[in-house]
Symmetry: C2
Subunit: 320 residues, 2 copies
Amino acid sequence: MDQDSLLRLLAAGNGGYISGEEISRSLRVSRTAVWKSISDLRRLGYEIEAHPRLGYRLLARPDKLLPAEVRLGLKTARFGQVVHHFNSITSTNDAARELAERGAPEGTLVVAEEQKSGRGRRGRAWSSPPGVGIWASLVLRPPLLPVQAPLLTLTAAVAGAEAIWSVAGLPAGIKWPNDLLIGGRKVAGILTEMRAELDQVVYVVLGIGINVNTPSFPTELEATATSLYREGGKQVSRRLLLQAFLERFEFWYDRLPQEAEEMRSRWRELSLTLGRRVTVISPNFTVSGLAKNIDREGALLLETENGDLVRILSGDVSLR
Amino acid sequence: MDQDSLLRLLAAGNGGYISGEEISRSLRVSRTAVWKSISDLRRLGYEIEAHPRLGYRLLARPDKLLPAEVRLGLKTARFGQVVHHFNSITSTNDAARELAERGAPEGTLVVAEEQKSGRGRRGRAWSSPPGVGIWASLVLRPPLLPVQAPLLTLTAAVAGAEAIWSVAGLPAGIKWPNDLLIGGRKVAGILTEMRAELDQVVYVVLGIGINVNTPSFPTELEATATSLYREGGKQVSRRLLLQAFLERFEFWYDRLPQEAEEMRSRWRELSLTLGRRVTVISPNFTVSGLAKNIDREGALLLETENGDLVRILSGDVSLR
């Protein structure tokens, strides 16, 4: 029996009862099958009251990003329609890569309550404590050349910022290339990995980490990290936030690469980097200048003091 | 006992005898250990005569790209110093990818006598019959950005052309981006695959296929494919050719990316594409023009009829 449909029926009751008979009729399954599925949902953490005469009533849903929760009301065609949920995992990107190698379709989502070794760019650690964040990775099979792959990071950053604005009402901005900040502190990060031939992307795994309801941070992160809860003073639904991200991301993604310019102007609006004097540090160089623009492929264009325009593909930006 | 050293001693004899005692002393192992290693070599296909009084004599070496054969006399620091040899395999690139995922060091070589499903760019088949070609893949961990990875294809093409010139004395030229031609027919191809984060290459697998002693081609390939044997009229040593390729490739590779310009000028000298009117066909476009140059990242610069300079990252070139 289709668990998603049962959950949709129960949730549509808005705390009211729905009879076993009605469920059975609506989903075209036996009363016994209904009872079995209710038990399954309870085992996943759903609180469901069963009244001998009135039927079933959904009292509480688990605060977990379970597949049925992610899909409930999700308005996408592909992104997040297949969900692999883990209570604890080393890294959602690693799990998504394995799925991608085994042929997982575009939009397959890996989501975990907790990452034991969450990663950021260049192998840096990303703190991912249980139940308070979105730690998720999507399998993508974009019609792009490897050199165009940075567009995906820009696109995901736009979608992430839009989702935070619409669900939490907080002003998240984008720091090139892959961070979302609120009030100068990092609230989300994106990690894009790919397998490619030189003129063909085989797959991309796009990971996003959002500090949603993190109550506090270790001392060493206090100055640089924040969460939506700390910024807005109230709990934010991880489910709604993840859904908004998936919807906005799919929206922009489906317009790549032909309509990338629209996405780039949205990126520019949300950017915290452009128009600022910045210093970019990479393993190979350090360069300072005025951040003028991003180009077609997502590189940062920096104007140095002597008027040179430098094109930067990679590095850590410090805003000053 | 070190098989490479034993083989080096035997090969240094140039068909003459070397006594078991001398081997035992030189390699600091027991006479029994020598005898055991001689047996191992025989099992691999080496013909070794054992004379009760004179000692051992190497009569013939197997015509296979066995690890000890590849390493014998190989003047590289890393490329081909670790060799995985297969009599038959699906694809050396696939095997090298698996090794790379498990942490294989740079320069690890996978070589096969035969590939059952050898691949070219974009999943095209590459015919790899047993014993007549070089079907090999190298694991690389270059200090490059993903956008610079096309440099590796250029570099390998230069090394391949140089190896063919020096070992077979035949004029191989480079057709952008990844083919080596003699007399207008394809004699070798390169397939570069990578795993990368957006600002860091994790590893590259660079595969090369060279038609060395292929006596004839199926009718459908007759017009477009050739081998060194068909062009030069004599058998070419696969071992010497592979070694020359590894040596030239490591030489140029170690100069990337700082001294890439030297490699690019060598590429230009060997190019069959530059200075010609060509048509480039890709899934997304077709464009014709005069091939003017390659740029820093290996893209082809084409001047169209109305004077526009078009930068092409990927596609199939037809020379006219």
